[in-house]
Amino acid sequence: MQTIYLDNNATTKIAPEVLEEMMPYLTDYYGNPSSMHTFGGQLHKKIEEAREKVAALLNAKPEEIIFTSCGTESDNTAIMSAVESYPDKKHIITTRVEHPAVLNFCKHLSRKGYRVTYLPVNKFGQLRIEDLLKEIDEDTAIVSIMYANNEIGTIFPIQEIGEILKQRNILFHTDAVQAVGKIPIDTNKLPVDMLSLSGHKLHAPKGIGALYVRKGTRFYPYLIGGHQENGRRAGTENTASIVALGKACELAAKNIDDEVKYLSRLRDKLESSLLKLCPDTRINGDVNNRLPNTTNISFEYVEGEAILLRLNEYGVCASSGSACTSGSLEPSHVLRAIGVPFTAIHGSIRFSLSRYNTEDEIDKVIEIMPSIIKNLRMLSPFGRDKLPKECR
């Protein structure tokens, strides 16, 4: 059975070009880039080349890129750097819909005595600038707001927020893990001080990420040890994965405009077809302002895990905000924050596409999904007429 992989916000396939590029550094060139001998030392140059490619995708300077092990490390590093650099400031502002890498790190800091404000979002997942303005004060060490949401794809007004924070001289970090490689980002114009990205979301392997730190930003390292990354991130460089991330960024930069068009066309086809073919469905999030590859659809009266496992029988991979898929009993914090009724959260499915998806694959999903939903609804005690009043 052919796998139809529509879970690219979870992770992506390694691009063949990326694998090819990194391979020699897993086999022949295993030296330590910090070594004095040529065998190891020559790798230093490869790392700097990769840094230039990552910087190019973001229109940044190479020295503004720090390689990390993942998006989570980048996020943790950015926030920790802010609180270490400004020890007198004890206030952090973020949103209710962040990735756990930011959300749980902030919760951790709040147990250590920091005051954390979690900004609400409206039903489309949008922030209100007034809410942010109300919360900023002299005690604010950093504002961390994601570029685009992983579950619903909503893109935040990072430009506008950045301009406000720049005027007030407040450090601004954005978790752009879901945005980098999917939509163009220009740090030369975008007023952010720090920006996180993750390799495996853009067809590089897992275990590599990067943090952009604008030149002139106060920085305090999170991993302390050797002098690697100019003393900003200790630990022997993951040469192969760094080379891979460089290549992945190069590929993304080359094709990004075409991919935006391609992915949004496929996504829109999938979404509009499912909405037409399956009654009682709704789109979650902001349809006018979101990642081109993401759609989050709620199918009423049925539960997400059941849908996923039926899809699994056809080799189709997607994900759900339902409580039953989370390992805990908590339904998606993002869908709750945007006020999706519990009934619809349980039946929410996220499809996230990549450049490797084909129109045939999308057609296949459009073909099988309506019968899966119909079938599960036949099993369900609820339906348009059967639903209790308070849930309608």
Partner: protein
């Protein structure tokens, strides 16, 4: 991804007895769409013999909820209502070859639907949940239900209660209260542990020790890249050697004492475990 048995997968993909029996003699409805799972069970019952002739279900929920509901209908068909009332959530889980522990609440839902249906058949008004004191407000779980499930399934921790009833799994505010309820239950009556054999010959003891170590200890250690080997058994003293990642592990002391605890629990109370 959940580790479902083949039988769970089969009962989810090809559920038996879906829908509603015609002119049902008993209806049992539990759960709600808000909580994330709900089950409507309908039964056809022979009034002369009190035998369940047919059973059908409708379920909103995950794969294990659907499989548990379907398993329930298979279990009750042909039984008298007295026999059916003896079915516990464990029977439903066992019928399916087991459920992941986080999904045990699906089997509890099946048992409750059956109880509700039989009460309905007997003309007993459905117990309104509000009658009992609600402990978990997120999932509307009463103290009565927590006590019942804890005693029937020998549950001793808050996490287990959450796996079986969902209570404590939402905002988490009631976890301390669940802890108190558990303390109250088990301070009176210790949970029945799987009983260990009374008297063992030396050979039986050695065989049992090997079995327990192979079954209960090694898979966990191997998952972390370690292992354990029995070097010798002298009377109540078990001499072991830790292997692989366990060698020189900072937690080796903890590992050894947990092996000892397990052997004391399942073989004999006087066992002492020593590293070679």
């Amino acid at each position: 991804m959940w580790d479902y048995t083949e039988k769970v997968k089969d009962f989810f993909l090809n559920p038996k007895n879906i829908g509603e029996v015609e002119n049902p003699d008993a209806i049992g409805e539990v759960g709600s769409i808000v909580c994330g799972d709900a089950l409507r069970l309908t039964l056809k019952i022979d009034k002369e013999t009190n035998r369940i002739l047919d059973a059908k279900f409708q379920t909103f929920g995950c794969a294990s909820a659907i499989a548990s509901s379907s398993a329930l209908t298979e279990l009750v068909k042909g039984k008298t209502i007295e026999e059916a009332l003896k079915i516990t959530n464990k029977d439903i889980a066992d019928f399916l070859g087991g459920l992941p522990k986080e999904k045990m609440h699906c089997s509890v839902m099946g048992m409750e639907a059956l109880e509700a249906a039989i009460a309905n058949y007997k003309g007993i008004p459905v117990k309104v949940e509000e009658e009992g004191r609600v402990v978990c407000k997120c999932f509307n779980v009463t103290e009565e239900k927590i006590r019942k499930v804890a005693i029937e399934n020998h549950l001793t921790t808050v996490e287990e209660i959450t796996d079986y009833t969902k209570a404590g799994g939402g905002c988490g505010e009631c976890q301390a209260e669940i802890e108190e309820i558990l303390k109250d239950i088990w301070s009176v009556k210790a949970p029945e542990k799987p009983s260990k054999p009374k008297k063992l010959t030396n050979l039986q003891k050695i065989a049992l020790i090997q079995e327990v170590i192979n079954r209960e200890i090694r898979p966990g250690l191997q998952a972390d890249g370690g292992d354990v080997e029995i070097i010798d058994i002298e009377g109540n003293k078990v001499i072991i050697a830790l292997r692989g990642m366990c060698t020189g592990c900072m937690m080796a002391g903890v590992t050894i004492s947990s092996i000892q605890e397990k052997l004391r629990e399942l073989v004999a109370e006087d066992i002492v475990v020593e590293a070679q």
